[in-house]
């Protein structure tokens, strides 16, 4: 879903750059405040994993493919703030080194694929989690459903940007219908990959999954001892 240079005019691209920089700036501040020691290397791994899986285009219709965006996956694993940074980092690496996604469109791409998916997607995940039973399988399913919807929202982001500053001649209604239609299909792939990956991490290290806090009562009890001591020592 990488927008190349030229699709969206310079003004809207620059405006998107400002919005994206602001969003990532806030995310950096929040992540700096909330990131736990062991989550830092994990976030690096999540970014690297998303880079790899974004290369795995899967066919969705005749002559069309889709790939993971990864915002919900990252947000569920390391939290929305660090998650948004992970995907933004992937987009920057892709643009700078792999000529994937225009450099003038960096802001547009970060808004669509990182900010929208990580924040709107995570909000949907959080809603589903409160509504559904708190089990591992329901956590994976919630992540998958939220991820699927996040792809359609990201496509909506492009539609909005095209409406504001698209340089092409196609009417907005045509682009809207085509974008949303194909990204419902791609969203299904995103949902499956996200649910499987979250499920795999939950099976191995449930305590490392940000979006599954509260799912591991045994580990919580074990953590009480040293934490309580430290809390007392701090006072």
């Amino acid at each position: 879903m990488h927008i190349p240079d030229g699709f969206i005019n310079a003004g809207v691209s620059a405006g998107a750059g400002v919005v994206a920089a602001g969003g990532i700036g806030v995310s950096l501040r929040k992540a700096a405040k909330t990131l736990e020691e062991r989550q830092a290397p994990l976030a690096g791994l999540v970014a690297a994993f998303i880079f790899a899986v974004q290369m795995l285009n899967f066919p969705v219709a005749a002559g069309t493919s889709g790939h993971l965006l990864g915002g919900v996956l990252a947000a569920v694993l390391v939290g929305p703030w660090a998650g948004a940074i992970c995907v933004a980092l992937v987009i920057v690496v892709q643009g700078l080194f792999f000529a994937d996604g225009g450099l003038s469109a960096l802001g547009l791409n970060i808004i669509n694929m990182s900010l929208i998916t990580a924040f709107a997607g995570y909000a949907i995940f959080a809603l589903l989690r409160t509504a559904l039973p708190k089990t591992r399988s329901m956590t994976s399913a919630s992540a998958g459903i939220a991820a699927a919807i996040s792809v359609v929202l990201a496509a909506g982001g492009f539609v909005l940007e095209y409406a504001l500053g698209g340089t092409g001649n196609a009417p907005i209604s045509t682009v809207t219908a085509a974008m949303l239609g194909v990204h419902v299909l791609i969203g299904i792939g995103e949902g499956i990959i996200t649910a499987l990956t979250v499920g795999a991490v939950l099976a191995v290290r449930p305590d490392l999954v940000y979006g599954a806090r509260g799912l591991t009562p045994r580990l919580e009890i074990r953590a009480v001892e040293p934490t309580a001591e430290r809390a007392v020592a701090r006072r």
Binding site: G6, L96, F98, G168, V182
Partner: protein, 124 residues
Amino acid sequence: MDRKNVLLFLIGGLVVAAGLAFFVSPLASGSPDGLNRVAIDKGIDSTEQPHAVGDGPLAGYEVKGVGGRGLSKGLSGVIGVGITFGSGMILFGFLRLSRARREAREGSGPQGARDRTPTTAPGP
């Protein structure tokens, strides 16, 4: 012990990511993705401009000078995983460090808990 387990998890995760990039990415669909397909079908791709690093050594997920499309793509993927992981570790390590510093600062004095707000307000 927990630290060791996290290290194992990291190594395992990196092996999976590099393995996907090297072995699976050459098998991925080469068709345009959803956005590019729409752009082509609706004729809004005519305004596309050449990429600034379109001639770069890794442009288009190919390592320049490496023959064989599959090997070239797989190799570029492994390099990309390395670049992303390395820059991510630096970035998140720095964020983590800044938190540790702030906590140390806040813990040192009774005023520390007031966060970043400067106590000397620009008065009259």
